[in-house]
């Protein structure tokens, strides 16, 4: 439970982060909230020799409106995302999802950028950003590029981030009044999702139904084609084969996906004011 030895440096600006990354190369890891990285270091599944602490870079923590989008700085904590008036009004699904993460301690340390970069398929935010059709701003030595949430996640703990890039911000469309639904199926209040569903505006994304947030294409198409919620939700696991583990078999996950998709869609419909 004690990590292997490592050095620690604290970055002071976005630019400084990039400099430090260039200087330390592959041996370094970014430290944001530390709530995914440090547990792995403690059990020695990760042993970076340098940690670049980005948590206190002021310019990376903010929530602001930019035209039709909300923009959220990468080191904004889950608690801030959950409690932000702006996000609650324009992307309530995101606030709600952030509020479902772990417990208060985790939500006050953990960051949106860290959760997305970590790319754990059981996590709350990756599927939420896919459902929201969010975009990530990736900052590297040659500037910033934008990547769609659904193109960002590549596999278990694998993303489109280049080794010299960071997530600098997350961008989501503003959709006040649009109905949304969120189902996180857990054994206990602060567990990870066995299966999770996030839906808004006819898009559905699922947690823990594969190595990246899964989209039930058949369900979305059925909805777009005017079918009812029950019929559409019944297709939620079509073509999706999640792995089994001690909490759930493949069949049980598929079953949960159908039930929870139906519930999430029903909630979304009942909430819709647009």
């Amino acid at each position: 439970m004690i990590p292997a030895p490592f050095d620690y440096v604290r970055a002071t600006s976005a630019e400084h982060i990039l400099e430090l990354m260039a200087q330390h190369g592959d041996e370094a890891k970014l430290l944001a909230g530390g709530h995914s990285l440090l547990p792995m270091m403690k059990v020695r599944l990760a042993s970076p020799t340098v940690l670049i602490d980005i948590a206190s870079v002021p310019e990376l923590s903010y929530v602001k409106v930019d035209g039709d989008d909300l923009v959220i700085g990468a080191t904004t904590s889950h608690a801030t995302v959950a409690n932000s008036d702006l996000i609650q009004a324009d992307a309530p699904l995101l606030s709600y999802a952030a509020a479902q993460i772990g417990d208060p301690q985790i939500r006050h340390r953990g960051t949106i950028g860290g959760s997305l970069a970590h790319s754990d398929p059981a996590a709350d935010l990756p599927m939420t950003l896919v459902a929201l059709d969010g975009t990530f701003e990736l900052l590297g030595p040659s500037g910033t590029r934008s990547v769609k949430a659904e193109d960002f996640f590549i596999g278990y703990f694998e993303t489109a981030l280049e080794h010299d890039e960071i997530i600098s911000a997350v961008r989501v469309p503003r959709r006040p009044g649009v109905g949304w639904g969120y189902e996180k199926f857990t054994r206990r209040a602060n567990d990870w999702a066995i299966v999770g569903i996030a839906t808004v505006a006819g898009r559905v994304a699922m947690a823990n139904m594969g190595s990246i947030p899964a989209r039930p294409v058949a369900t979305e198409q059925a909805l777009a084609g005017g079918q009812g919620i029950a019929e559409a939700a019944a297709l939620a696991a079509d073509g999706i084969e999640p792995a089994g583990d001690m909490h759930a078999t493949t069949a049980y996950r598929q079953h949960l996906a159908r039930v929870l998709t139906r519930r999430a869609l029903e909630t979304a419909a009942s909430r819709n004011q647009a």
Binding site: M1, I2, V43, R187, R188, M246, Y252, V259
Partner: protein, 767 residues
């Protein structure tokens, strides 16, 4: 008014809640100055021969003081603790030729700096020749792969054999139902993981700090395992953050910490990580039970058979004896024409099994309470009615069961009725019916248990007795030395109340000391819910005897007849009848000569608390997720000396008991790799998953001690587990489900519903 029976808040809490306790790892003591730190290299594999151990790289790391393997350790072999166990299943303190479970200590690394411990341990290279693992009790019983090849069997002990079973047992029964039931392996999960510290300077005695359930038992175990005279050992018990039965005696890590301290003549500290705690502290339960119950269609239960297969884990410990307690409690609270039980305990390549809150009794209750519900479902009768019809009638004289248990007093039907009334049972059934008719996603389940258990059966030292020393000091304060060993129970408060009530001295002036074998050479520790009925009674007895001694001294001092002296509780002193000015207090009497006494209270035997729990659960039949909505608990443990402490014991036990029914299980894969070795995966319940408890009171005094008290520490894990499990099954019984094994996790419940559906479909019935 007597303080006894009142809700006195805990003396120990202000310190625990402000500055915090002093746990072993927090100790600051000059005897530990300059201590080195140990870490154990543990086996990453379940079953393997050790081919070689290379310690050279570890020794090169700056700050590493020493590395030891089995070849260096000159300590006695650890024999199985009970004479009836297979005595050839021995253990060496560090694994020598073989490892038998993931987490078994293989080497010790001693470091100057605790922060390099894990780096150093990683450098010890152990080469293993992996053997097939024995996982699962039925597999072990086949004796195909053996943990000890030379022993020829994996069986530790048989309590009866199939030949002892009556082949005609069920011949006169109209209805016979049988089921295989899992009472799964669970981990005690105390807040404080294990630690130890030792100081053993050359030519001096060993001082060992061990967080335990009894310093005296720990001392005996430590001396035996070190192969030294017990007089050479001084054991101290710092604060203990939870034990649940898993902290009796001295674990091998504590023994080795002391051994290294002696070898290097340098103080040693050891403290494990949570991961190690999950792997290497003894686990509990782990029984597979076959229950068979027979009777008449009108609800008369006549015959019952319980066959137990128990897991000891890799080395036979106390877990091997627990099936005999399960057997002892086979018939529970019911009358049978005949009941019989056999048990077998086997070794597997898993963490050893020890005592866990209830230790053998919850397993018996879980078995019979499931059997009764299965029987009730088979004959289509309300489970409450079946129970009422078959309960042992109220008795006030001890009742001897066919299994040799002597129940001291009991009124099981009243307990059950109180639970049913408190819950508004009839209304709950109506609500259940409504939800079934509507086909709600969330169905209601109502489950009950009737239980009787054993408390105060004995102690670490054997007989059901305990000692206490009470001393009144000249300044009017009191010191109590107790042989019990509180680790959350509140003895500092309770024992002060006992003494205060007799001595007339406020509890704020009374200090309770435990866990120092020099000050308190004898003691049975705390376990099996024995403390109040023996340790508390010893405090009361000593206090009464102290007043008697004081009376003799007061008579002398006041130049009066003892018979004319009156003890005034309000003044904590004596006065002479008719001479109001002639008085002397206990404190005053202590000025001339120390005023103290040691007394032993011996109980005639164990007491048998009983009760009934009724759980109300909601089961989402679409997802299989069950949640606890209400739980009504009648726990009759005789007279209640402090309702706050009494209810506190119930609360923790109910939550733990419900957790076993719902979620907890320590899981291994087929190669013996633990899959639940962190708190992210090992799911005890949190406050969010339990409702406020509905505690119903019932008091049936025992005659076995002057106060009429029994033990309540384990009531929750005995009563709540089957009530909750029965409720989950009940919620989906209309879908054709008869039994769901624990833990009734969402997947398990959903699979049970699916299986029942496809069953009834294939039978052509409507689901």
């Amino acid at each position: 008014m007597s303080i006894l029976g009142t809700r006195v808040v805990r003396n120990e809490d202000p310190e625990l809640l402000t500055k915090g306790g002093t746990y072993t790892d927090d100790l600051i003591d000059e005897r530990l100055d300059g201590a080195a730190h140990l870490i154990f290299v543990r086996s990453p594999v379940a079953h393997a021969r050790i081919l070689s151990i290379d310690t050279s790289e570890a020794l090169k790391l700056p700050g590493v003081v020493a590395v030891y393997t089995a070849a260096d350790v000159d300590l006695p072999i650890i024999n199985p603790p009970m004479p009836m166990f297979n005595q050839d299943m021995t253990q060496t303190p560090l694994a020598s030729d073989k490892v038998r479970y993931v987490g078994e200590p293989v080497a010790i690394v001693v470091c100057d700096d605790p922060y390099i411990r894990e780096d150093a341990a990683e450098l010890v290279e152990v080469e293993y020749d992996i053997l097939p693992a024995v996982i699962g009790m039925p597999n072990a019983a086949k004796d195909e792969v053996l943990l000890w090849e030379s022993v020829g069997t994996n069986t530790v002990v048989d309590f009866g054999t199939p030949d002892d079973l009556d082949p005609n047992l069920f011949d006169d029964c109209e209805v016979v139902v049988s089921h295989l039931i899992q009472n799964q392996r669970i981990h005690p999960a105390p807040m404080e993981s294990r630690s130890g510290a030792a100081s053993w300077p050359e030519g001096e005695r060993l001082t060992a700090w061990i967080p335990s359930q009894g310093a005296q038992g720990a001392k005996a175990a430590l001396a035996a395992q070190l192969g030294i005279d017990a007089a050479e050992v001084h054991v101290l018990t710092p604060d203990v953050g939870g034990a649940f039965g898993a902290r009796f005696g001295a674990d091998v890590e504590m023994v080795l910490t002391a051994w290294v301290a002696g070898k290097l003549h340098r103080p040693m500290r050891w403290s494990e990580t949570r991961y190690e705690n999950l792997l290497a502290m003894t686990h509990g339960r782990a029984q597979e039970q076959r229950v068979t119950i027979g009777g008449s269609r009108d609800g008369n239960m006549k015959k019952y058979r319980l066959e137990v297969l128990a897991d000891c884990g890799a080395y036979p410990k106390i877990g091997g004896i627990l099936p005999s307690l399960t057997r002892l409690m086979t018939p529970g609270t019911y009358v049978f024409d005949k009941a019989e039980s056999i048990a077998k305990a086997v070794v597997t390549n898993t963490t050893p099994i020890g005592a866990y809150r209830g230790a053998g009794r919850p397993e018996a209750t879980a078995a019979i309470e499931r059997a009764v519900d299965i029987f009730a479902a088979e004959i289509g009768m309300d489970p409450a009615d079946v129970r009422r019809k078959n309960l042992v009638p109220k008795f006030t004289e001890p009742h001897l069961t066919a299994f040799g248990a002597l129940y001291d007093s009991g009124d099981y039907e009243t307990a059950l009725n109180k639970a049913l009334e408190a819950a508004n049972y009839e209304d709950l059934r109506k609500e259940q019916q409504l939800r079934r008719e509507r086909g709600d996603a969330k169905q209601l389940g109502i489950g009950m248990s009737s239980y009787v258990e054993i408390t105060g059966a004995g102690s670490e030292s054997g007989d059901p007795n305990e000692n206490a020393t009470v001393e009144v000091h000249p300044d009017g304060t009191v010191t109590i030395l107790t042989g019990t060993s509180p680790h959350g129970q509140g003895h500092a408060t309770a024992w002060a109340m006992m003494a205060s009530d007799t001595l007339g001295i406020g509890i704020d002036k009374i200090t309770v000391i435990h866990g120092d074998t020099d000050l308190i050479p004898k003691g049975g520790g705390t376990g099996g819910s024995r403390s109040l009925q023996q340790g508390g009674m010893a405090v009361q007895k000593a206090s009464i005897e102290l007043v008697d001694i004081a009376r003799t001294r007061a008579a002398e001092l006041l130049e009066a007849n003892e018979a004319d002296l009156q003890f005034n509780i309000d003044d904590s002193g004596f006065s002479v009848a008719g001479v109001p000015s002639s008085t002397v207090t206990l404190a005053k009497l202590a000025e001339k000569e120390r005023l103290f006494i040691n007394a032993v209270f011996a109980a005639p035997g164990a007491t048998f608390p009983f009760g009934a729990h009724l759980a109300v659960v909601e089961v989402d039949v679409e997802t299989g997720k069950a949640t606890l909505e209400r739980i009504f608990c009648v726990d009759d443990a005789g007279v209640v000396m402090n309702p706050l402490l009494f209810d506190g014991q119930r609360h923790g036990g109910i939550a733990q008991g419900a957790a076993q029914a719902f979620l907890e299980e320590f899981i291994y894969d087929e190669d013996g790799n633990p899959l639940t070795a962190s708190f992210a995966d090992y799911p005890f319940l949190s406050a969010t998953e339990v409702p406020s408890f509905d505690l119903v009171s019932m008091v049936t005094p025992t005659t076995y001690n002057p106060m009429g008290v029994k033990g309540v520490g384990e009531a929750g894990t005995i009563g709540a587990t089957p009530a909750v499990q029965n409720a989950v099954v009940d919620a989906v019984s209309h879908l054709g489900v008869r039994h769901i094994d624990m833990p009734t996790s969402p997947r398990v419940v959903w699979e049970a519903i699916e299986a029942a559906r496809s069953n009834s479909n294939s039978n052509g019935k409507v689901a």
